[in-house]
Subunit: 287 residues, 2 copies
C-alpha cells in the first residue's frame, strides 16, 4: 500500500472530509451543548487518546467562540474516557478583538445516565491567519532521519500488547534512535521523535495539531518504564497554521521525579515552522 503521505493530493482525504474530522465532529444540540460519540478508533493501549479528546473539545470551542483557532489550550484530565456517547458543554468567558477565551468540559454517562466529567479545558482562541508574519524563531527543527529511514508500527511486530487502534489512523515513522524500547533495548534517554501524519493523507490543521502533540509513544518507554503513563494535564500553544505535508514531532522528558514526569513536544511543519509547542504532566508507575 503506498504511503498515504506521498499519495497524490487527489487521493488524500481533504481537511473536513477525513477520518479525523468525522471522529471529532460535534453536533450542537443547543447553545453551548454539543453531542458526540467518541470513536473507538483513536485508542492507545485501550485508552482513548488524550490528544484526540483535546481535539474534540477544541472543535466545540471553535464553534462556541468568535475566533476560529486555539492559540493556547489547557486540559485537566479528570477521569478516563471510553468510546461511546459524550457531551461537551462550553462557556464563553470573554470575547475580545483579537482573542477570545472559553471553557469546556467533556462528560460521559454512568450506569444511571448521570453525567461524569472526564476533562475540563480553558482556552484562548484567535485567528492564526491574521497574525503578522514576523518570525524570529531561534529554535531549530529536530534532527530526525529522512522518513524512509524511520519506522512505524506497520514495519514490525506490535511491540505494545493490547489494542491500539490509533496506529491505524496515523502515519507514524519513528526515529530509529528513539525505537530501542520496541526492540527491548530502551536508550535510557527521555526522547521520542517521529514523522507524523494522518493515515488517510489529510493535511494537518490547527485542530489536528492538538492530536499530534500527544500521539507518539511515551518517552517513558525509552527511559525503560513500562505501562500506562496517564496524562494529568496538557497545555498546547498553536502558533501557526501548518503547511501541507508531514509534520515532525519531537518529545522530551527531563524531569522524571516523584512519580511524575513532564513531556515537552514540539511540532514542526514542512516549511520548517515551529507550529505547536506543548507540555504535559503525566503520572508514572516507578519500579
Amino acid at each position: 500500500m503506498p504511503d498515504a503521505a506521498s499519495a497524490p493530493a487527489a487521493r488524500r482525504a481533504a481537511i473536513g472530509a477525513a477520518e479525523f474530522d468525522r471522529d471529532t465532529a460535534v453536533v450542537r444540540r443547543a447553545p453551548g451543548v454539543y453531542d458526540i460519540d467518541l470513536s473507538a478508533g483513536w485508542t492507545i493501549i485501550n485508552a482513548v487518546n488524550g490528544g484526540y479528546l483535546l481535539a474534540v473539545l477544541g472543535r466545540a470551542l471553535a464553534d462556541a467562540l468568535p475566533h476560529p483557532d486555539p492559540f493556547t489550550i489547557s486540559a485537566h484530565y479528570l477521569t478516563a474516557s471510553r468510546p461511546g456517547p459524550a457531551v461537551v458543554r462550553t462557556d464563553v468567558v470573554r470575547t475580545g478583538r483579537t482573542l477570545s477565551s472559553g471553557q469546556a468540559s467533556l462528560f460521559q454517562y454512568d450506569a444511571d445516565g448521570q453525567e461524569v466529567e472526564r476533562i475540563r479545558v480553558l482556552a484562548s482562541y484567535g485567528d492564526l491567519d491574521a497574525l503578522p508574519d514576523d518570525v524570529r524563531t531561534t529554535a531549530e527543527p529536530p534532527a530526525i532521519p529522512p522518513m524512509e529511514q524511520c519506522f512505524g508500527p506497520q514495519d514490525g511486530p506490535a511491540p505494545v500488547p493490547g489494542s491500539s487502534a490509533i496506529t491505524d489512523r496515523l502515519m507514524l515513522k519513528l526515529d530509529p534512535a528513539t525505537l530501542g524500547w520496541a526492540l527491548g533495548s530502551p536508550s535510557g534517554k527521555g526522547e521520542m521523535r517521529a514523522w507524523f501524519g494522518l493515515a488517510d493523507g489529510r493535511d494537518a490543521d490547527p485542530l489536528s495539531l492538538l492530536l499530534a502533540v500527544d500521539a507518539l509513544p511515551p518517552t517513558a518507554f525509552e527511559i525503560g518504564l513500562k505501562g500506562w503513563v496517564p496524562t494529568v494535564e496538557l497545555t498546547v500553544h498553536v502558533r501557526c497554521r501548518p503547511a501541507p505535508g508531514p509534520l515532525r514531532v519531537s518529545v522530551t522528558t527531563r524531569n522524571l521525579a516523584g512519580g511524575f514526569l513532564e513531556e515537552d513536544a514540539e511540532v514542526w511543519d514542512s516549511a520548517d515552522r515551529l507550529v505547536a509547542q506543548s507540555r504535559q504532566l503525566a503520572r508514572v508507575r516507578l519500579g
Copy 2:
C-alpha cells in the same frame, strides 16, 4: 543593608508571617468565596504582577481543595488587574485520593460595582510531601555566576521607567550575561537568569514558586524589544517542595513569531532540585 538572603534565620521572615503571605492572604467569606485587597506592592511597570496574582488564586484553591499543593496550574489572563478589592470564586471539580482538581476566577469591580473577571484558572493539587523520593531528573541547573557576581535593581539606576514596586519585595540578582538590556546593549538572545528570593528573607514554598516563575524581567528585553509583554496564559508545574535558601530561575524564549512569544521558566532550589517548570504565552509589540 545586609542581603536578606544571607541574614541569620532568626531575622528572616518566617513562611506564613512575611510580606508575601500578608499580600496573598484571602479571607473566606463563604464556601468558595474569598476576598482580598490586591496589594500595590507587587506591580511591575504599573501592572500587577501575574505570578503574584497566580499565587493569590493558588492560595484560595489550597483552602478549597482537600490537597494542599498545586501540582499543575493553568491561568488565562483576561483583563488587567489593578491594586484594590477583589474576590476569588472557587469550584471543586473533582476530589481523588492523591489528586484533586479545581477551578478559580479572580474578579474585580467596575464603576457600577459589577464583577469583572480578571483571571480564570484550572488546577490539580496533591501533596508534595507524599511523593516518593525517586528522582531521575536529567535536566541540569542553569549556569549562573555566584550571587556576588550578579546584579539587582538596587545595584544601578532604575532601567525601567515607571513604578515597579515589586522590586522592593524581591531579592533579585541577574546574571550579567542577561543584563545587557539594562545597559542599552541587549544580547539578542531570549534568555533571562537570576538568583531569586524574597526581600524579607522568607524561604520559598510551593505557592511562592508561582510568583518566582513570572518575577524576572521579560526575555523580550534581551531580544531588544521594549514595552509591555502581557501574559495571555501561564501554566506552572510544581514538582517538589523547595529547600530553604535562594532559588535560581532561568527563563528562555525560542519562538518569537507572529506577535507572540513563549517564556519557559525553570526554578532550581539550593539542593539542586528542579522544583518548578512553567511556560507562558505572551503578546509582544513588534517593531
